[in-house]
Symmetry: C2
DNA sequence: CTGAAAGCGCTAACAT
DNA sequence: ATGTTAGCGCTTTCAG
């Protein structure tokens, strides 16, 4: 009825409680005979070590705090799924924290630390320097996912967003587009800034100025408005780069269904992320892929790297390919 | 540098360690003077109680194990988001477990129990009776989300799937459809069975037999094939009910883009869930809403209900409305 | 290699 | 109302 403890197993096996502990501690020295005896008793009682009690001594809770803000951009569920599965392979599990906005990040981080997590992945929000110090002091590694901060001292994993922006510009130039527009994401984010900079820099090199620029804030409703604005005038863009797929999907509804333009003949569209939806025939969106698996793998590596909590912050950028689909025309020539 | 304990606070405040504990234990009796003194010292040191150490005594880890299998059906991220936010309000947090298939559910449940969780939400998979007994024995309440099992003794929260199926049938009948088809989800699930039964029963009452039935297994690729099968013959359905939105989205790509039919003129489509995507203009899908917030609220209520671990299993069904959009025609008359 | 003993940070009697 | 004491289940010295 009650919970089975190592004491119970010890009694049944006729050994000391510490012997039981050793059998379940990888790398401890126990004879095979002892191990067999203990395992037998443990199986009979259905014993499993209490991770929380163990954490009190070892300092390892095998819990990783994961903070996300919104899951309606399909990229984040995807990351969560991979992260969760990968962590599990190493015997860790993600404790989820939804942070609606940046304001209560201090409170959220405090809650995370209450659970004595072994690491933190911030997949959506930023963090105050004060909290950063707390984590450093507690020796808890923190990894920013899909964003980085110039000034603060955090490890970070992102795609190579600048280069991604460049690739999109090159595609538009090669296809002979003249009226090229950009729909920006949330301006506070590094992803937004880098993608735009790569895009605009490359256009400039080819002597092309942005025909239009709107802000969609990575948000569905705002992107609808931004798209309507963009096509309100007589002459409209013939190619648009959206800072992520989510906004491109939203815009496609407006462009095709509401305004009656044809993609890619009237206007070419490119997104960023390559979420599963992008490959669906109904969208068929050309986009820059964020290599989710590799990004997660790098994040975990950073998290588990022995001295990553104290080491100099590392920013890992993972290259992602441009995936050509039917929302863009073939390059000419 | 090191971690701050209640001992440190006690020393600084010049009180006993248990006094500190009491100040941070809601409902314990402490004088205001004592509370102030302790809080001051605690704030100065940045002290917060260690949840894991506390759990060792109280038996409450404030962790809820949440098991999901796939997150590509947008319904689950939505649930996760709401569940996470709601749990947080009560000082609980979800520990995520991705279970790829049912086979390793025993192992997954064992891992969950290692963390001494205060409850379990199974949002996607089933569970063996053996594990059920373990949870019962440990006094850990389990709630099935969006599925239920006749035989096993679990609490469950679902939408009223049977009634939802009825509503769709009534809509098709009222709109005068004659060749009505159904695309089934994964046959093992109660959601699939109930939705189909409500649908078919209502059609039968009106003297209508199913024109076609395919299986999409709640899966993208299989739904593409199922849809192509369905429209392979000369005469094709003029109305199709998909057991969830996810499959309807997949099918819409085939029906509109690949086969060139028009929705709803050539064929009406209805889904189930009302995920955010369903209201996007590009889909604009008529569907039965699963009231996510209310379903989550009920699940949490079941989880926290004092004696829910021992009580008779309760199955809560939440009614959801039919949301009319442009993938169906207006009822005639 | 094994057992005895100490103690991780905390709460909950038990005293006063 | 506060301090003292005894553990929660476990790992990890320390002896032998």
């Amino acid at each position: 009825m009650a919970i089975v403890t190592s004491q119970d197993v010890a009694k049944l096996a006729g050994v000391s409680q510490s012997a039981v502990s050793r059998v379940f501690t990888p790398g401890a020295s126990v004879s095979k005979k002892m191990a067999d005896k203990v395992r037998l008793a443990a199986d009979e009682l259905g014993y499993r070590p209490n991770i929380l009690a163990r954490s009190l001594i070892t300092g390892n809770s095998r819990i990783i705090g994961v903070v996300v803000s919104y899951l309606n951009n399909q990229f984040y569920p995807e990351i969560l799924e991979i992260l969760s599965a990968e962590l599990r392979k190493s015997g860790y599990h993600p404790l989820m924290f939804m942070a609606s906005d940046n304001d209560d990040m201090d409170e959220v981080m405090a809650e995370i630390l209450d659970y004595q997590v072994d690491g933190v992945v911030l997949a959506s929000v930023s963090m105050s320097s004060a909290l950063a110090d707390r984590c450093k002091a507690a020796g808890i590694p923190v990894v920013l996912f899909n964003r980085y901060l110039e000034k603060d001292n955090f490890h970070a994993v992102t795609a190579n967003n600048y280069q991604g922006g460049c690739k999109v510009a090159e595609l538009f130039i090669a296809a002979g587009h003249k009226r090229i527009a950009y729909v920006a994401g949330w301006e506070e984010t590094s992803t937004q800034r880098d993608r735009e900079k790569g895009f605009v820099d490359t256009l400039k090199k080819a002597g092309i100025e942005l025909f239009d620029r709107q802000v969609g804030n990575y948000n569905y409703e705002e992107t609808l408005l931004a798209t309507r604005n963009m096509f309100a005038n007589e002459t409209h863009p013939d190619a648009v780069f959206f800072a992520n797929d989510h906004m491109a999907f939203a815009a496609m509804g407006v462009i095709e269904k509401e305004l009656g333009f044809r993609v890619p003949d009237d206007v070419a569209m490119v997104g960023f992320d390559d979420v599963p939806l992008a490959s669906w025939p109904i969208f068929n969106l050309t986009t820059v892929r964020q290599p989710a698996k590799r990004m997660v793998a790098e994040a975990i590596r950073l998290l588990f790297d022995a001295n990553s909590a104290s080491a100099q912050p590392i920013h890992i950028e993972v290259d992602g390919p441009l995936i050509l689909r039917n929302s863009t025309k073939e390059p000419q020539g």
